[in-house]
């Protein structure tokens, strides 16, 4: 069973979200990292890029798969976790510390799930 911290919000496409002031901090869930396997590379947007709700803003690669990461909000990339570019293994080791981007000026926010709602999504996918 994967780790789903109660204090975070989630999407059905396996991103976690928390807020830091008016910033939205976005990462990949434990479930996502464990289904991808060892992550070998991550392609991130640049600071200042626009992200759109429901659209992919990053690619995460394992040896045999690649997966998009979808933004639950529309806004502007305020910060990028550069540490992941050099060490993508952080995404496997501590998915809830290894945030990908922080988004400012959020205009639209998609439907977010609480921990229980997200757990149901994971259970359905595992079945």
């Amino acid at each position: 069973m994967s780790n789903i911290p109660a204090e975070l919000k989630y999407t059905a496409s396996h991103e976690w979200i928390r807020t830091e002031g008016d910033l939205y901090v976005i990462g990949l869930t434990d479930f996502a990292q464990s289904s991808l396997g060892d992550i070998v590379f991550i392609e991130l947007p640049q600071e200042g890029d626009a992200v759109t709700m429901g659209e992919s803003f990053a690619d995460v690669e394992s040896v045999k798969a690649v997966s998009g990461v979808f933004s639950p909000v529309s806004g502007t990339v305020a910060a990028v976790n550069e540490a992941l570019i050099d060490n993508p293994a952080l995404l496997n080791e501590a998915p809830y510390d290894a945030w990908l981007i922080k988004v400012s000026g959020a205009q639209e926010v998609g439907e977010l799930l609480d921990a229980a709602g997200y757990e149901a999504v994971c259970k359905a996918e595992e079945a």
């Binding site: 070998v40 394992s62 690649v66």
Partner: protein
Amino acid sequence: MGSYIPATGEERKAMLAALGLSSTEELFQVVPEQARVHELNLPEGLSEMEVARKVSGLAERNVRFRSVFRGAGAYRHHIPAIVKTVTSREEFVTAYTPYQAEISQGILQSIFEYQTQICELTGMDVSNASVYDGAVAAAEGCLMCMERRRNGVILAGTADPQVREVVETYCESRGVPVTVLPVSDGATSTDDLRAALSEGTACVYVQSPNYYGVLEDMDALVAAAHEAGARVVMGANPISLGLLKTPGEYGADIAVGEGQPLGMPLGFGGPYLGFMACRKELMRRLPGRIVGETVDGEGRRAFVLTLQAREQHIRREKASSNICSNEALCAMTASVYLAAVGPQGLRRVAENSAAHAHYLAGKLASVPGFALRHKGREFFHEFLTDCPVDPDMLCSRLAERGILGGLPVEGGLLWCCTELCTRNDMDELVTAIREVCAQ
């Protein structure tokens, strides 16, 4: 009738019986009648002896020239004997793409060695395992440079026309606008390039030595492109890189070229070898297979296909290229060639080819009407001259003497010399030309 099926008639019956069938026809029952074909209009099969005679007969209908003074994208060089023996080994010839690293270390290591050699030749950081040919390498190189806000390609008009055509085909379908620069006295003018560059230019493709054999002013062209924020894809002849400044030294971002001169026969155009190398920053945009070094569970050095998440079998419609099979055996051929001749040998091939071309240009200049077209330009092993008679007529008269003359281009002749064109061959050529022109 020829066949490579081991199973005997009896064995086939037994196999069918095991399946509860009586004939192989029943295996095709699922095919609707309208899609069935009951006899193909093909000739009857042949024994090995008959087919060898028939196909050899086709080979004999071709003319093999004693002396070849034609290049223009395909070059006749000496092929060391060891190149042929190594690359005809059945293990290498009959292997598939090395997906199973544990039983493919031979192929994988040879590609790793090839990648290293291509990096050394071009002065680049990373090479892929090859693409189909030099023209496709140029096209893929240009497509590697696409950015969201920069998607235009500028092509030097001095590039090989077939390379230009392939780049245009690849760009057209991707919706990439292509601008072709004018030719200025056999070379590319930096002013023309500056005028064509814009904020939408993704890259500039320049080939040096170019189609006319001329060495472009790469320093100036690269500087102009980079000033405008565009990348440079440089096409190079790999033999010339034994001697001449590398794309890496010029500051190009991507180096591409036709690897055929590295041990592959003319073969009427193929199989050839597209090589591609780039700077580290562009590594993950490089198309096609790439071999990397790693270790196995016991810490032994091992080689694997790597960075596969770039490729079509994982990324599908989002892949930057669709390439899977490339020219692995040709890459091995190039690698054996480069190891066989070594750095001194490669330099000598380059020097002798250039020396022969310059000798021939000098001799031809003494024949009335064969003036060098681009006099002030330095050239490698090809050059364009005027021709006072019909170039096709001249070539067919030369052909009668076993000589393949220069290629008729723009009313003149594009000549090529390699290390195989000896002084005697060139003197004979010039004598023959004088005789034909005197008639």
